[in-house]
């Protein structure tokens, strides 16, 4: 008791409590879904409800793959997220280099124009884009999602890359140009390799944003073969049935790639989010 009181007054207890609250708040829903994924339908409807699977089994994961083409959804999500990530990195790297390095008037205004894109309500864009994609027969295709996601990620990617490009010593680039590189050559050989961490950070943010997007994916790519994960996972529910264990198993599978990405790159992700500052 004595040690408890002194621990509290010294702070380590308090600090541990603080850490615990943050951990439980952040991880509980994911852990609950993980536990549910291993419960049977019978156990799920038991009363009172169980907190830990009494008879864990992999059946729900088998059902999740059987009831819906989960690999197709996964593949579509990866193609769309990677495609739009690469495209917006390319576009924003060029733009950010011009803004950060070249002799340019009104660079602040130019950057503001790009950032302003993130102020546009996505729902508003959805309506005309739906019609445009429809008339171009682009509904139910990868481009229907890759093109808008690319533009939606331009602001955050450009912000992150501008701040990275500004950090690279100008002398290095000048040295490369003295050695006979063109400006584009210097961009490719000196600036790009040195800003790899920045490209990485921007890339992860763009990837996660595209991976998470739901409204456009639901509106544009509704055919089974073109659904992304967030849309596909909604399809397990019937009109009257809600197969929770199966949905939970599917959610676990869908979450794994993103959890791995943030586990490995958490420092970069946090740095990028708080430097570029925005968009949740």
């Amino acid at each position: 008791m004595n040690s408890l009181v002194s621990g509290l007054s010294n702070g380590p207890m308090l600090r541990a409590m603080a850490a615990l609250i943050v951990l439980v708040n952040g991880c509980f829903p994911a852990l609950w879904i993980l536990a549910t994924a291993f419960k049977s339908e019978v156990e799920l409807t038991a009363k009172p409800i169980t907190y830990w699977p009494t008879n864990p089994s992999w059946d729900n994961f088998v059902t999740a793959f059987r009831d819906q083409p989960l690999p197709v959804y996964l593949f579509n999500s990866v193609v769309v997220a990677l495609g739009s990530m690469l495209l917006s990195l390319f576009l924003s790297a060029l733009a950010a280099y011009a803004i950060a390095r070249l002799n340019l008037r009104r660079r602040g205004l130019i950057l503001a124009c790009i950032v302003a894109v993130s102020m546009f309500p996505l729902v508003t864009l959805m309506v005309p884009l739906f019609e445009i994609m429809r008339s171009l027969s682009l509904l139910n295709s990868y481009w229907a999602l890759i093109l808008p996601y690319t533009v939606l990620n331009l602001p955050i990617c450009t912000l992150v890359l501008v701040s990275f490009f500004q950090e690279i010593p100008r002398d290095l680039e000048n040295a490369a140009m003295i050695d006979g590189c063109t400006r584009l050559g210097a961009l490719w050989r000196v600036v790009v390799p040195l800003s790899a961490p920045g490209l990485f950070t921007a890339g992860i943010l763009a990837f996660v944003n595209a991976w998470d997007e739901f409204l456009l994916a639901l509106s544009f790519n509704s055919a089974t073969a073109w659904r992304t994960l967030p849309v596909g996972i909604q399809m397990y529910q019937g009109e009257f049935s809600f197969p929770w264990p199966t949905i939970s198993a599917a959610l676990v599978i869908a979450m794994v790639p993103v959890v791995i990405v943030i586990l490995i790159f958490q420092e970069r992700v946090v740095g990028g989010l708080t430097s570029g500052g925005i968009k949740g």
Binding site: P48, A95, M119
Partner: protein, 301 residues
């Protein structure tokens, strides 16, 4: 903000094509923005003045402000607007308060930096649509953990999906959970830039912890709060994924974004959904303007 270049005059003269190069580098990004954002917004404004119901099979015809007149008298629009307003009014301050709490907790728990940061990143990285599904399961009347906890506390279980207000309450809770972590990450970065010496000086002056919080922490956090709040408000106005995944009774908990989606994608009524989207656009721009004005005033003092 980018700094002006320090290139010498000689340097600049030896590379006269620099501005041309800059334009070529900026062109691809701006072409994309023009095609995917600017042009569609113009199409949207034009469509909102048309009677374009694709399901009727008739060609679109110019109808002036008819869609907007219909909108003003549309009870379903006003219900959706009310639901959206409730979500904004509850989840924006909610996410700020919870986010600030999480940021302060995380700041005290810096010894466990890795796990704490991961716990803040997880909700951010989880798709909104998944959060909606998971919280719908939490609030399930029979098998949900919320009712189980209520029963264990000796309270009566609640049928959350039975009424619009209860469903909206659940939607707001899910939204606050999802968005407060991101808020906490931004505020945590802000907290860590506050110099310790300020607190030490306050300590010497005998200021209480509460005074330190209201006189040092809060004022210095305002800039990071405002940036986070603009984006939180703009995304709250567009709430779609979570309320869509947590349906209440009928369409009683429909948000503006859900109503626009229904008119555009399900009814293929391009005219009316465009008018609704224009209204949404106006609300968003107005919100941005109000914040920007506030930020400028803050900056001036």
């Amino acid at each position: 903000m980018p700094q002006p270049t320090n290139r010498s005059l000689v340097d600049r003269l030896s590379d006269p094509s620099e501005r041309t190069l800059a334009i070529w580098l900026l062109a691809p990004a701006f072409t994309f923005i023009t095609l995917i954002v600017v042009y569609p917004v113009l199409v949207l404004a034009w469509n909102s003045l048309q009677d374009a119901r694709l399901l009727t099979g008739q060609p679109a015809r110019f109808s002036g402000l008819e869609n907007y007149v219909f909108l003003i008298n549309d009870a379903q629009f006003w219900r959706a607007a009310k639901n959206t307003l409730i979500i904004v009014a509850v989840t924006v301050p909610g996410a700020l308060v919870v986010g600030l709490g999480l940021a302060m907790l995380a700041n005290t728990a810096m010894r466990w930096k890795g796990p704490v940061r991961l716990a803040l990143l997880l909700p951010w990285a989880m798709p909104l649509a998944f959060v909606g599904l998971i919280f719908a399961w939490f609030f399930h009347s029979d098998y949900g953990i919320v009712n189980d906890v209520l029963k264990r506390l000796g309270l009566a279980p609640v049928i959350w999906s039975a009424s619009a207000s209860l469903t909206l309450a659940a939607v707001c809770l899910a939204t606050i959970w999802k968005t407060s972590s991101f808020m906490a990450l931004i505020l945590l970065a802000g907290l860590q830039t506050i110099p310790r010496s300020l607190y030490e000086a306050a300590e010497v002056d005998g200021a209480s912890k509460w005074t330190q919080f209201t006189q040092i922490t809060l004022p210095l956090l305002v800039p990071s709060m405002l940036v986070a709040l603009i984006f939180r408000t703009l995304t709250a106005i567009q709430s779609f994924d979570i309320p869509y995944s947590m349906p209440g009774p009928g369409e009683d908990t429909q948000t503006l974004a859900m109503y626009i989606h229904m008119n555009a994608v399900d009814y293929l009524d391009l005219g009316y959904s465009s008018a609704l989207a224009v209204v949404m656009f106006g609300i968003s721009m107005l919100t941005t303007w109000v914040y920007m004005r506030h930020i400028r005033r803050e900056g001036g003092t």
